[in-house]
């Protein structure tokens, strides 16, 4: 019981932020990877695009709504360049 309580109080909330190139932006790195993957023998691949993934761990006790808002702001203001990139935030706890 005590262990369960400790788990509930100390659970860590994380935000996963995915940054991807806008569909209209060419991705030469993704193309190079695609080409190499095909050389490895993998078939039926229409496209490969490269993106970035970030994990943000919050302090204990942060509310989920605050965590989401904070992660969205971090993504919008720094992790993604809105000229060329989109982002998506997932909260896990």
């Amino acid at each position: 019981m005590r262990n369960n309580l400790k788990f509930i109080l100390n659970h860590t909330m994380k935000a996963k932020v995915f940054v991807t190139l806008k569909p209209s932006v060419l991705d030469p790195q993704g193309k190079a990877i695609h080409h190499s993957v095909e050389l490895l023998g993998f078939k039926n691949l229409a496209d490969i695009r490269q993106g970035k993934y970030f994990e943000i761990t919050f302090d204990d006790g942060v509310e989920i709504s605050d965590a989401r808002e904070t992660a969205e702001n971090i993504a919008k203001n720094m992790l993604a360049n809105p000229v060329i990139e989109d982002y998506r935030v997932e909260i896990t706890d």
């Binding site: 209209s24 932006v25 060419l26 030469p28 790195q29 190079a32 720094m78 992790l79 360049n81 000229v83 060329i84």
Partner: protein, 235 residues
């Protein structure tokens, strides 16, 4: 007249810019550490090339948040001259001082060689001293120089004469073969609407001495010097 050269952790063309201003432009120049915020003694600020913050996240993305950049933004809004070269261009785009973004070169390689540049607008403070139809030979050295913007931004740049330099062949023709990095419409350098902020991927500070293969870069620095002198004379 006084020039400033911003120094971020990872800047590596700061001394080149300093050298050119002091030796060839013949004007006072000081380094500005990125944590400084007082730019009141300067008439022009150079944001130099290099790898600020190791290019972590995106080239120029973290330098944008250095304390000095808020001051550079205010400095630019006062109409004073800001000149971003290579990584400096990337930083100015990330900061929103110039539109668009610089992406990984289309060929993925770091490209380091002399390129030919056509001056598309001779009326900016950075280009008045370049004689008409002169093709500039200036080196590039970058992996992220692929200028990208949406159609709306591109049309705005065209209409306002903000496209200042394009990659061209030795005769001044804009060709695909002369585009080293896949930049949209061969764009090598742009300015803001007010013409007081310029960013370019090529390194004019590396082309101010015959010994280095070209002194065409001097035309750009002498244009800027003349523009500052005109502002001083009008004050």
């Amino acid at each position: 007249m006084k020039f400033g050269v911003v120094v971020f952790p990872g800047s590596n063309c700061d001394h080149d810019a300093y050298h050119v201003v002091s030796k060839h432009v013949g004007q006072p120049v000081d380094f500005i550490w990125h944590k400084e915020t007082d730019l009141s003694s300067f008439d022009a600020v150079i944001v130099p090339g290099g790898f600020s913050y190791g290019d972590y996240l995106r080239a120029g993305a973290l330098a944008r948040f250095s304390p000095v950049m808020e001051s550079v933004r205010n400095f630019a809004s006062e109409g004073k001259f800001v000149f971003g070269i290579c990584n400096g261009f990337q930083i100015l785009c990330e900061s929103g001082l110039l539109p668009g973004a610089l992406r990984r070169n289309a060929g993925l390689h770091f490209v380091c060689r002399h390129v030919n540049l056509k001056v598309e607008n001779h009326t900016t403070p950075f280009t008045t001293e370049v004689i008409a139809d002169k093709v500039l030979s200036i080196p590039i050295a970058h992996a992220e120089g692929n200028y990208t913007c949406d159609d709306e931004t591109y049309n705005m740049l065209e209409e306002n004469g903000q496209i200042v330099f394009r990659y061209c062949d030795e005769n001044g023709e804009i060709t695909d073969a002369s585009n080293p990095n896949g930049a949209r419409s061969n764009i090598a350098g742009i300015c803001n609407q007010n013409r007081n902020v310029l960013g370019m991927m090529p390194h004019p500070e590396r082309a101010c001495e015959e010994l280095l293969g070209s002194n065409d870069g001097r035309d750009i620095f002498s244009s800027l010097t003349k523009a500052i002198a005109q502002v001083e004379a009008a004050a």
